[in-house]
């Protein structure tokens, strides 16, 4: 087990920066998840930590030891690939034990360790098979077993469940969480799957264009995102945004936007001008037209059985999603009103930074109570 520390780590390919001055401290035994849109550099960052690609600038240390110039094989890490990367010509047993063969362990010792790991991952009945005879889930178990058998200090996962169908993905997600509980090894996990990030992570690192947007517990990211980017990235369906016009009235702002939106808001701290408002789909409710804060036309309803998504068009450019537990009584193409509580309103300035406003403090306090000592950004 070990901590991992990145100090202004950068990587460019042919003068093209992919990772730009990333600072990050990962505690011993922590489960860290890297998320971000494709091309944000999350996989590259993982590969830099693994030593599969050299850094252009900056320093990496694992367990307090600088490893920037140490080859991947000597960093005490294990890597689980999206493609599983099993050796296709070897049996499951040899796939798991291959790394041990070169350590000069006896044949029996290798066999025992392989059997132990195989049992833990429930692949002990498959030891004589080859990867092509396994299902996707079994392959991923073998890949994790191959990583586990070396007793690494740090586990690195690169979208390990992306090639699995959704049922299996959920099952493996729980198994990985259980594995982390059992062995307590530091794990760094790259994914684009919201559910994986929210359920597995002690802390989530949100990356955008090679820089860290925010580091925090899943609850912090959900309730107090630092920027419009993070707010839009965490949560599914994503937060509804609309551009607003702001008029200063003393210390307050009068905001007006599509759908007849008119709000008075008291921005605390930062005095930048609000440019965008955001409300999460689950914070919205459908009310009679004129009695809510916004008005629009109910355009479309998606029935998912356990929840319903209503699409309400505010104007030509803005359509908001409402997440509802039951099917709304209103018909399609009728006028509806939308309402939300003050503390569920997010304000962002022109640069995308979130602005604290009087009501949002209640939300922050609630969120902090909820995380109850869960990680605070390092």
């Amino acid at each position: 087990m070990a901590s991992v520390e990145l100090k202004s780590v950068s990587k460019s390919y042919g003068g093209n920066p992919v990772i730009r001055g990333v600072d990050l401290a990962i505690r011993d035994g922590e489960f860290i998840v890297f998320v971000g849109p494709s091309g944000c550099g999350k996989s590259t960052l993982l590969r830099l930590i693994a030593g599969l690609v050299p850094v252009t600038d900056g320093e990496i240390s694992i367990g307090g030891e600088p490893v920037t110039d140490v080859p991947a094989s000597k960093r005490g890490i294990a890597f689980v690939f999206q493609s599983y990367a099993l050796y296709p010509h070897m049996t499951v047993a040899r796939n798991i034990g291959f790394a041990l063969e070169t350590l000069g362990l006896g044949r029996d010792a290798v066999r025992n360790k392989v059997a132990e790991v195989a049992k833990l991952l429930k692949v002990d009945h498959l030891l004589a098979r080859r990867p092509r005879e396994l299902s996707g889930g079994q392959r991923q178990r073998v890949a994790i077993g191959r990583a586990l058998v070396r007793k690494p200090e740090v586990f690195l996962f690169d979208e390990p469940l992306s090639n699995l169908d959704s049922d299996l993905r959920m099952e493996m997600r729980i198994e990985i969480a259980r594995l982390h509980d059992d062995i307590g090894t530091t794990m760094i996990y790259v994914t684009h799957d919201q559910a994986e990030a929210m359920t597995l992570a002690d802390r989530i690192v949100v990356l955008n264009h090679g820089v860290i947007e925010q580091v925090g517990s899943p609850q912090e990211l959900y309730h107090t995102p630092k920027s419009r980017f993070v707010a839009g990235f965490v949560g599914s369906p994503r937060m509804n945004f609309s551009t607003v016009a702001a008029t200063g009235i003393g210390a307050d702002w009068l905001l007006s936007g599509p759908g007849g939106l008119r709000l008075e808001s008291h921005v605390t701290g930062n005095r930048s001008t609000p440019a965008t408002v955001g409300v999460r789909p689950e914070a919205l409710s459908i009310v009679a037209p004129g009695s809510g804060r916004l008005d629009g036309v109910l355009e479309r309803i998606e029935d998912l059985g356990h929840e319903h998504f209503a699409y309400v068009r505010l104007d030509a450019d803005n359509s908001w999603v409402v997440r509802l537990p039951a099917r709304p009584r209103e018909d399609r193409d009728t006028k509806v009103g939308l309402s939300f509580r003050d503390e569920d309103l997010f304000l962002f300035d022109e640069s995308g930074a979130r602005l604290d406003h009087a009501a949002s403090h209640e939300r922050s306090a609630a969120a902090l109570a909820q995380t109850s000592g869960g990680g605070i950004a390092a």
Binding site: A50, G51, L52, P71, A72, S73, K74, I77, A78, F79, F81, S83, A85, L86, Y87, P88, H89, F98, A99, E101, T102, P131, R132, R146, R150
Partner: protein, 298 residues
């Protein structure tokens, strides 16, 4: 699928196959059958219409001929040595140019040049370069002071097989490189990265991962080259006509057929060459299990 549709499909398949089948019949099956037939006759080339069937006599005549066995020995020696060198060299060069080195594209294109030159041209070119009096190789060796007077590379009995092998290696290594390179590029990069992270030393990565995964590609390349080498004719013939030192089985068959006009015996010798090639091909496919390995792609 309904029976009717299935029947229509089958008919369409046969229609697409028909032109190829006709072409095969005319250019492959018919000449082969004729050769096979003539091998059981005492026909001569000056009057192929006048012959009688004599059973296996021609086959016995060929294997009773000392020259035939010299030709077989030459063919096998040439095949084993040249294909072995080409495989090792081809593997080495393929591994080298598979690395992301600058100018890799140019190297890959340049390496194909020897393979693109017709055998006769390449052989004549090397014959001149190896000429004992005017050849560039002897000039270089003399000017470096390594030898006093020119070596007769293509006349000396013990050197000429070496020269034939050398020219063949020069010409066909690119073919090996290309096939093995294609195999190398089929190996997913993540497998090699996984091995790297696992701390597998470079030699073991090569020996236990790259080589086994390359086996189908190398197997196919070796098979092609061996079949080619076993019926080699042009290179040795252009370089040394019918010198016994480099006479191959194909040259032997050609001599009996054309020089001696013995249509029956020439056909029998050709059939022996065919059997030899077929036997070795089956052996290689069996040993390397190419048929099964083909389905083992990662």
């Amino acid at each position: 699928m309904s029976v009717k549709l299935a029947r229509a499909d089958r008919r369409a398949a046969w229609m697409f196959m028909a032109p190829m089948l006709v072409a095969m019949l005319v250019v492959a099956v018919w000449p082969l059958a004729r050769t096979f037939y003539f091998s059981f006759t005492d026909a001569y080339l000056d009057d192929p219409t006048n012959y009688s069937l004599i059973g296996f006599e021609n086959y016995l005549e060929v294997i009773g001929d000392r020259t035939w066995w010299i030709a077989v020995r030459n063919t096998l020696l040439f095949t084993v040595v040249s294909v072995a060198i080409e495989t090792v060299l081809g593997l080495g060069i393929a591994l080298l140019i598979n690395q992301a080195i600058p100018g890799r594209g140019l190297v890959r294109a340049a390496i194909l040049v020897p393979w693109a030159i017709p055998v006769v041209v390449a052989t004549k070119m090397w014959e001149w370069m190896l000429n004992d009096q005017f050849g560039v190789l002897n000039q270089v060796l003399i000017s470096m002071g390594l030898i006093d007077h020119g070596i007769a590379w293509t006349a000396n009995g013990s050197l000429i097989m070496g020269v034939v092998i050398f020219i063949d290696v020069w010409m066909t290594t690119p073919f090996m490189v290309l096939l093995i390179l294609a195999g190398l590029q089929m190996i997913p990069g993540e497998i090699m990265e996984a091995a790297e992270v696992d701390g597998i030393p470079a030699w073991k990565r090569f020996w236990s991962i790259v080589l086994p995964l390359l086996k189908p590609a190398i197997g196919v390349a070796v098979l092609f080259r061996v079949l080619d080498a076993l019926r080699m004719f042009d290179l040795a013939y252009v370089l040394a006509a019918s010198s016994e030192q480099v006479m191959t089985a194909s040259i032997y068959a050609r001599n009996r057929l054309i020089s001696f006009q013995e249509l029956g015996i020439g056909s029998a010798a050709s059939t022996w060459v065919f059997l030899l090639v077929a036997f070795v091909a089956i052996l290689i496919i069996g040993v390397l299990r190419l048929d099964r390995a083909a389905g083992e792609a990662p």
